[in-house]
Symmetry: C2
Subunit: 422 residues, 2 copies
């Protein structure tokens, strides 16, 4: 499809947060032009009057477990250990591949409403997830969730090879669930795999104080230091959550060029704590933002996450000037793309992939237009997402979905599943 | 207008959070029936198939300064004192009555998108605000914002008399801005007024640690103790923010039957701190929730506030089970109504005012329906608000407004104002 957007405000994020007025052309899956209105003889499939709304790069949800949608609001307001051991793990153990396919698609519907155009996914059954994303048109980078109980090294290598040779919409990165669920032997094996493929490695890292304490007791090292000591970061990568990083940990992230993926909604609901983001910014570390899974958040909403990144930092530092909202918008877009290795999806410019969202500026929470970037971070809501385009295809527009399946079928399947497992 | 809603889920909140299936009738400005489908010979103006969405009481925004919309995103990420003294106060001083009318209407548009059916308002020019709310159909309880610089006792008594004898949609309560902006003489005078009319009194109270410290230095008492010592709470009332209450303060709130209005979004963005909500709940104090004004939040979104009430409590107490989301839904509806003296608007039942919202359950963030109340608090968004009815009149439905004026006119006026004052 060739689509011309005109009469638009465009926040390209190519350089800074300046906004230009004009038009944006999409030919196939890529952006072919951004600039002033100009003549052309292209055969357009659609020409869309953007009515001075904003076009900007889609958000990158840089950490999630999409398949957990069936657990939303099933067990909240419980202490963390009871929540995980009594409510989550026993039910997850009963999931079939088809269950995961439908639960992932329910999450994809929600991502689209929140302007999310790619996800950094860690969950069970990677082949099914890969299919679900391709079927729905969602850009997805999966990461291995290997641990002592599932997804062996052998399987991870198979996934790595297979899922990186299929659709250009999906890819696979090496990873492990977390230090506390993996033996040293397993992690050494993963390090060897990372060296074999020169591949970055991601995992949950320092999400809670007790996790860090446990690792120190086991190895005399923090999770970051321990991973680094095994060579797991020799080809880059990073960590999810990273609430409790020591200065030495931060230095490892800096030296190895690793990314930190912040998950403030989940860290809030599960009472994990507040990450020391200014320290990470000062060290020049690439920061990205993720929703985490829908059991621990419970919603998949980048607007909530963006507000929390700046808001919680302000509370944490007792300083209303901490972590400027403009920096947060960069984290939610370019920062995520960098962490996920999506160098073609980070900003809007000629030749980049057409992962584009339209933010309605004619809604009351977006008025007046004193500072559009700050409006998005401080006042933005899913209600402002008027369109979500991924790889040149409009998957969500004015409340309607186009993911190759009726949302009602997806809702019905997941409701039945939830009823069965409750 | 007589309106019949059928095929609905109804969360009446009359007793607990049980949900019934059936229909709800509105005759004029009141609810006349809730229950199973039944025959009737009423002449309906509209019969609305709710498609198994949820009808529930509208949210009560129990603390706001609506007229500040022009300041949204004009000056963020600044230290609190610079923000207030350099950015806010000088611009507010330039506002005309018409400016406040339009700014208030912009806020009202946003309230409607967030399912807010009444506001507890403190701002400049109460007569204009009263008019703006009546013109737009917004239920509004104003409260005096008297201080050493504006709104004298004489004026406050005039407002009290005049604005409580007009439309049933609006009313006026006694109040003062805060202890630190009012002399002891002024507050003693207000206490006399409160005793004269047996009227409750509200004010900002203990929003920051330094505010409490200043009061202790001036009077040897906290703001709560000082107000109580002047007899300001003898006829009830309460405080906004209440982040820093001592045990003795909490006891005064309990004994005098006062309400605490929580403002977590504002307290977060301005780095004021986290209120100790479990302690207030344990004391049995009535809790309500407000957005505060759009310069300090920046959005007027009860979904954000509800999540923050439970989420920040969890962080504050380092306990994922702190402040159950169901309690939060009560605060945002019945708690607010109680604080604002709106005993006819607290829940959905026969004879109550028809302040009703429709929450779409067929959106992905509301699926599956494991627990609808928790879905609303944890996953809810403005995008789920399909209808907002106030006093029996539908003011917002499927993205369209009916407030007697074209939203574009309002946007245009406020944009011009913002451009002029920036």
């Amino acid at each position: 499809m060739n689509i011309r957007f005109y009469n638009a405000r465009i926040l390209s994020l190519e350089n800074g947060t300046g906004i230009i007025s004009g038009e944006l052309w999409v030919l196939g899956d890529r952006i072919s032009y951004i600039g002033k209105e100009k003549d052309n003889d292209i055969k357009w499939d659609r020409q869309i009057d953007v009515d001075k709304d904003l076009l900007m790069p889609g958000f990158k949800n840089a950490h999630t477990h999409s398949g957990m949608t069936f657990l939303r609001s099933m067990a909240d307001d419980l202490p963390l250990d009871r929540w995980l051991n009594e409510q989550i793990f026993p039910r997850e153990a009963k999931l079939s591949g088809e269950d995961i396919r439908f639960c992932t698609k329910l999450a994809i519907l929600e991502y689209l409403t929140s302007g999310i155009t790619s996800i950094f996914e860690m969950y069970l059954d990677p082949e099914i997830i890969d299919e679900a994303c391709i079927e729905s048109g969602m850009r997805c980078v999966q990461v291995g969730g290997m641990n002592n109980f599932s997804q062996s090294l052998k399987l991870q290598e198979e996934y790595y090879t297979k899922l990186n040779s299929g659709s250009s919409l999906t890819s696979y990165m090496l990873g492990y669930h977390a230090e506390y669920t993996c033996s040293k032997e397993l992690l050494s094996g993963l390090s060897a795999l990372s060296h074999k493929y020169s591949a970055p490695v991601f995992s949950h890292n320092s999400e809670t104080a007790s996790e860090v304490q446990g690792c120190i007791e086991r190895y005399g090292l923090t999770p970051t230091q321990f991973a680094d000591s095994l060579g797991l970061f020799d080809h880059g990568g990073g960590g999810y959550h990273c609430v409790y990083l020591s200065d030495e940990d931060v230095d490892i992230f800096r030296k190895k060029g690793l990314s930190i993926v912040l998950n403030p909604g989940s860290n809030t609901k599960l009472a994990s704590g507040i990450a020391d983001i200014s320290r990470y910014l000062d060290a020049g570390i690439n920061l990205a933002i993720g929703t985490d899974g829908p059991a621990s958040n419970n919603c998949l909403d980048m607007f909530r996450e963006m507000f929390l990144v700046t808001g919680l930092s302000k509370l944490h530092e007792k300083d209303a000037s901490a972590v400027d909202a403009t920096d947060v918008l960069i984290m939610a877009t370019k920062g995520g793309a960098k962490a996920m290795g999506l160098s073609d999806c980070d900003c809007l410019s000629e030749g980049k992939k057409a992962d584009i969202i339209r933010i309605g500026l004619h809604d009351p929470n977006m008025q007046p237009l004193n500072n559009i970037a700050k409006n998005i971070v401080y006042s933005g809501s899913k209600m402002n997402v008027k369109m979500t385009m991924i790889d040149g295809v409009i998957r969500y527009e004015d409340g309607n979905f186009d993911i190759g399946q009726d949302p009602k079928e997806i809702y019905s399947y997941v409701q039945d599943l939830a009823d069965r497992l409750r």
